[in-house]
Point group: D2
Chain length 352, copies 4
């Protein structure tokens, strides 16, 4: 049975892999600078963001942790910190990478994956209550889709951005699964709106059909100056920069007969599979945990069911509830087929 | 009226100042190495701790933040973190100094200033639930007296130390106000017990009558090797090392007719003044916040009272409660007299 | 004309690319842990190193800067430094990545790319002449092939390793171009000898036919404990760990009719092309700079020739000599053909 | 016999100590903020620098390593480095403190203690020759008096400052012994000129009669914003901030009948003692090493003489020459008397 463990279990989606193979023998200068693929990918991305040349930089790096660390620490001076939710990837799943670069993560008590102005304000008010004895907040970090599969709507996103900008804080958006968010059912946020609202964000590749790589769009001046150096200093620069250019070019190039560029159609497919999976599991009586319209689906199950799902499809456990039940996650991707979902539902029926 | 703002508002206690003046013209080699005062202070401290030569190192540094940063980061490897309460000084009042050295602070939800095995276990269990993707806890940080004036008893201290040691974690005790804790009413912990139980701790000087300086007692091998270098690298080494030796020598030298060494009698006096202050304020109907037997006293007051106390005696505000009332702090020291307390109580009566 | 700018100008060598394509649809767990390709690659590498299971760890990371930073900083405590030549990659071409992790690079005045015991001793003697006021050397960093194309012989390598080990220093070998070194003409060092002599080293993939990735062999206990966490914390962990496993498996798997595994034959080919290129240029009267038997060739040329070579084949300039002449570099790879070399020589004849 | 080991062998000069004793019982708020002594010291220092309120900040910190690290790292972004001479204190005697904060020290080959535009240009040209792959120089660090006792003249200082400013680099001047430099014979640099030329510098206290402490004058905007937070984060903030205010106030307050403020007269005295010592030793046939008009005097002696001087007056050895002779240092201070110098010369005569 196909695993539902993650959206990075396979190699690359066919369109991406084909582009890598097709360009394999070309010679390019390295490091994402000056090769035609990176340059074209940059233009395609600026375009889809509705940004003019010069309004923003598009930069590439090797993976999500790199992108987060470079983005966040490039926005912060030594004594400054970043506000995020308690479940934020940078707070819990990156081995203290932000602290390893000397900066402080300041988590709120927001428990649903969305950073709220109220939660952020509590942290901000506290951290500015004792002058220089405290890390000074200077940025906020949000994820879309969130770590819990949630998708920001425009009003919610604008609210936190307004809150931040009113206080002089920068906004960094982790877009490891941004494609899934923006193609999810009910989404009302446009990429262009994000690009003109947050100060920097990235379009994730690793979790949307590429071998690896993230493309960061940067309007913030401080980060624009920092990125080219930080990406090297923090180990995120790829010698064969072509790999990033070729993949993002293929992802954002709309081919003959494409209703939309592969970057979006791959994510839309994953969301559809996730919706089918969710509907199926709910139909079988399983209890969803939270409400995710994106490609991660969380369910509350018994310990026995958790063990069975882990064994069968590699589902990971995210939380253990106070009553002993467990929250497991199923993830779909470009590689998930309707048949794979059916197989999972068939199995689930046996343990429902 | 005398301020009750802090225990570091004045210069040095007379015995300490006298010793500095008396030795001022002596020539000493620098950096706390090899001068007779540091050497003698080391022996006096080992002695009062019941430690043999070689069982532990005694090292000096310039202040509390230095001591905490050196102690904590000297116990941790790059990817490791320290568990502490949410109110721990290293978590909230040192401008991210631990993160500035690349390490992560892992706060629990303990709200009373005491790190509990339950709180620590929750953090530990979470932080070890996802392998190397998470900062690995490797030490715990406790303070005695706590940031809220609390004093550890032996059972409580042993419980957290046992919990830590069973998991291979080191224990660091911030003793900025250890003298106050150990001379507080009802205290049952001996210095020797601490010295033989925790892996490193320090005897605070700044907040107990010295101009500045802390003396760290280190049994942990990793920190023993690290301290001499870290204290220089982190900027905590004092060129005129004599200043630390002379002060700690004077503090731990029991003179003719002394019932105990000045280090203890100064703290005992401060505690007595704090107890009088507490009793007086309670008698006037003020509501204590928590139960501190040491030289910091916290009271819940109205905003108007807070403003009055801040104006009159420099009392600092620590929390704002949900109902708008404020928690203010009064601190006594070797320099506080019974008359100072009476003055404060007289004033308090006018706003009670 | 084919560029001779670098050995990472193309994509992957055919055998590597084929393996990536062939395994593309397999599902693997991520992060190089537990997938069959990484496991098999590990066993192949231990085997070719003559190491038993348990004698050493084989770990993967994303690129050379990551490998160097993780390897070097994982060997050093906060106050320790690494001795290397002045031209060492970590000293000049990694944007201060070692310092960014809080450690100090201690360059010698060795000018030929080889770290000498004499040069290292001068640095060591100086750095240990003032106790804790100086960064303490704790490791040495060598590269094979060196930044100038040189190849270590056994006597030379043993001399620096003995020097280091006698003083308690660890040895880290940067093997970004180790394959080229070990297959170069006249080389007398075996991989097994390296594996049993240095404390950690890596087998470079990026510069030897892979898309990216390096495989580190670690005997040093301190680094063995550190690597799994540091690779995540420093941003060097690849989500699709399969990519590293599949590539190194393909590189070290000796197929039907292979005289040796592709990892070696690719490098041997590059060396052969470099030797032809060198012989040809020398025949045309060009002056070689130093004596490199590996896939990087350095020549002293006039400014006009430099401009012509840069324009024609992307040759990079490494030094400007006092007389104004320039040292340019030509690099060959698995992708360089005999025809490409002929084209270059034909062009060179026109500007000789 | 009085030691000539260092200028921080004694406690504080009488005027300083008297001020500490006289103000000992006053209550002050802490951390150098808002107490009248720090405020008055700030005004006195601005005044003596010829700076208006608002043109520069005056900030205090605990010691020289703190001052250097805060000053240098507060001028640099993460990927930037500081150019200095190879003997610069930050390069060799601070245990890698700058690297510990993630920044890179870029030493020139200047061997006489003075950073030259030529030496700096060589480093700058190299470090900017390979884009973001190299640490970008963004500041220079000079010391006055230098580590070898040299004193900058106006032309020399202006030359390096002009060189730096033309390239957009900031200038930081380590003034641990600035008082000695500015009161040395032949000095033509005014404090006001320094204050208006470099971007930040400090007036050393530790080595000029105080117990400890340095006062930094900052015109650079980046450092002005950074200092208040960095001084806490890096452990350089003194809880009893009064100590710094009181000492600098006493040092810069010109009393009845003072020809100049004690800060200058103490240094002038030390210089006079050093000149007498130098003349005497030269008269005895000892060979000076370099030419220092300040309070550090270097001489080339035989190993036997070195041992004798070390034993007799604590002279430290700075270099071992190729012929085996040694360079020893004698240091004078406010505490050195003419009789002390005579004693030393009398002793020297016995081993000349």
């Amino acid at each position: 049975m196909r695993m539902f463990r993650n959206d990075y279990s396979e190699g690359a989606a066919p369109r991406i892999m084909d582009a890598l193979v097709a360009t394999n023998d070309e010679q390019c200068v390295g490091y994402t600078e000056g090769d035609p693929h990176c340059e074209r990918a940059r233009r395609l991305i600026l375009d889809v963001c509705g940004l003019d040349e010069g309004e923003a930089d598009v930069q590439f790096c090797v993976g999500g942790t790199s992108a987060n660390v470079i983005g966040v620490t490039g926005m912060l001076r030594d004594w400054e910190g970043v506000i995020c939710t308690r479940d934020a990837h940078i707070n819990v799943h990156e081995t203290g990478a932000v602290a390893a670069c000397g900066r402080t993560v300041l988590p709120t008590d927001d428990a649903d994956g969305f950073l709220s102005p109220e939660g952020a304000e509590r942290v901000y008010a506290f951290q500015t209550s004792c002058g220089r004895h405290m890390t000074r907040p200077a940025a906020v970090y949000v994820t879309n889709a969130t770590e819990l599969g949630g998708v920001w709507d425009t009003a919610r996103l604008d609210a936190i951005c307004d809150w931040a900008h009113e206080r002089g804080l920068r906004v960094f958006l982790d877009g490891a699964r941004l494609a899934s968010a923006l193609t999810s059912e009910g989404n009302d946020v446009t990429l262009s709106h994000i690009a003109h609202t947050v100060d920097a964000f990235y379009l994730g590749g690793t979790k949307n059909g590429m071998l690896f790589g993230e493309a960061m769009v940067i309007r913030d001046e401080r980060l624009r100056e920092a990125f080219p150096f930080l990406v090297k200093e923090r180990g995120g620069l790829v010698a064969k920069g072509r790999l990033l250019g070729v993949q993002f070019e293929a992802a954002f190039e709309r081919g003959e007969g494409d209703a939309e560029a592969p970057y979006w159609s791959m994510a839309r497919h994953a969301n559809r599979m996730a919706a089918d999976l969710r509907a199926g599991l709910v139909g079988l009586g399983f209890e969803p945990y939270g409400s995710s319209p994106s490609n991660q689906q969380f369910f509350v199950v018994s310990p026995a069911q958790q063990a069975a799902f882990e064994q069968a499809v590699g589902a990971e456990t995210f939380y253990v509830l106070d009553d002993g039940r467990k929250v497991v996650r199923f993830v779909t991707s470009w590689a998930t087929s309707r048949g794979d979902v059916d197989d999972l539902l068939e199995f689930a029926a046996t343990i429902a």
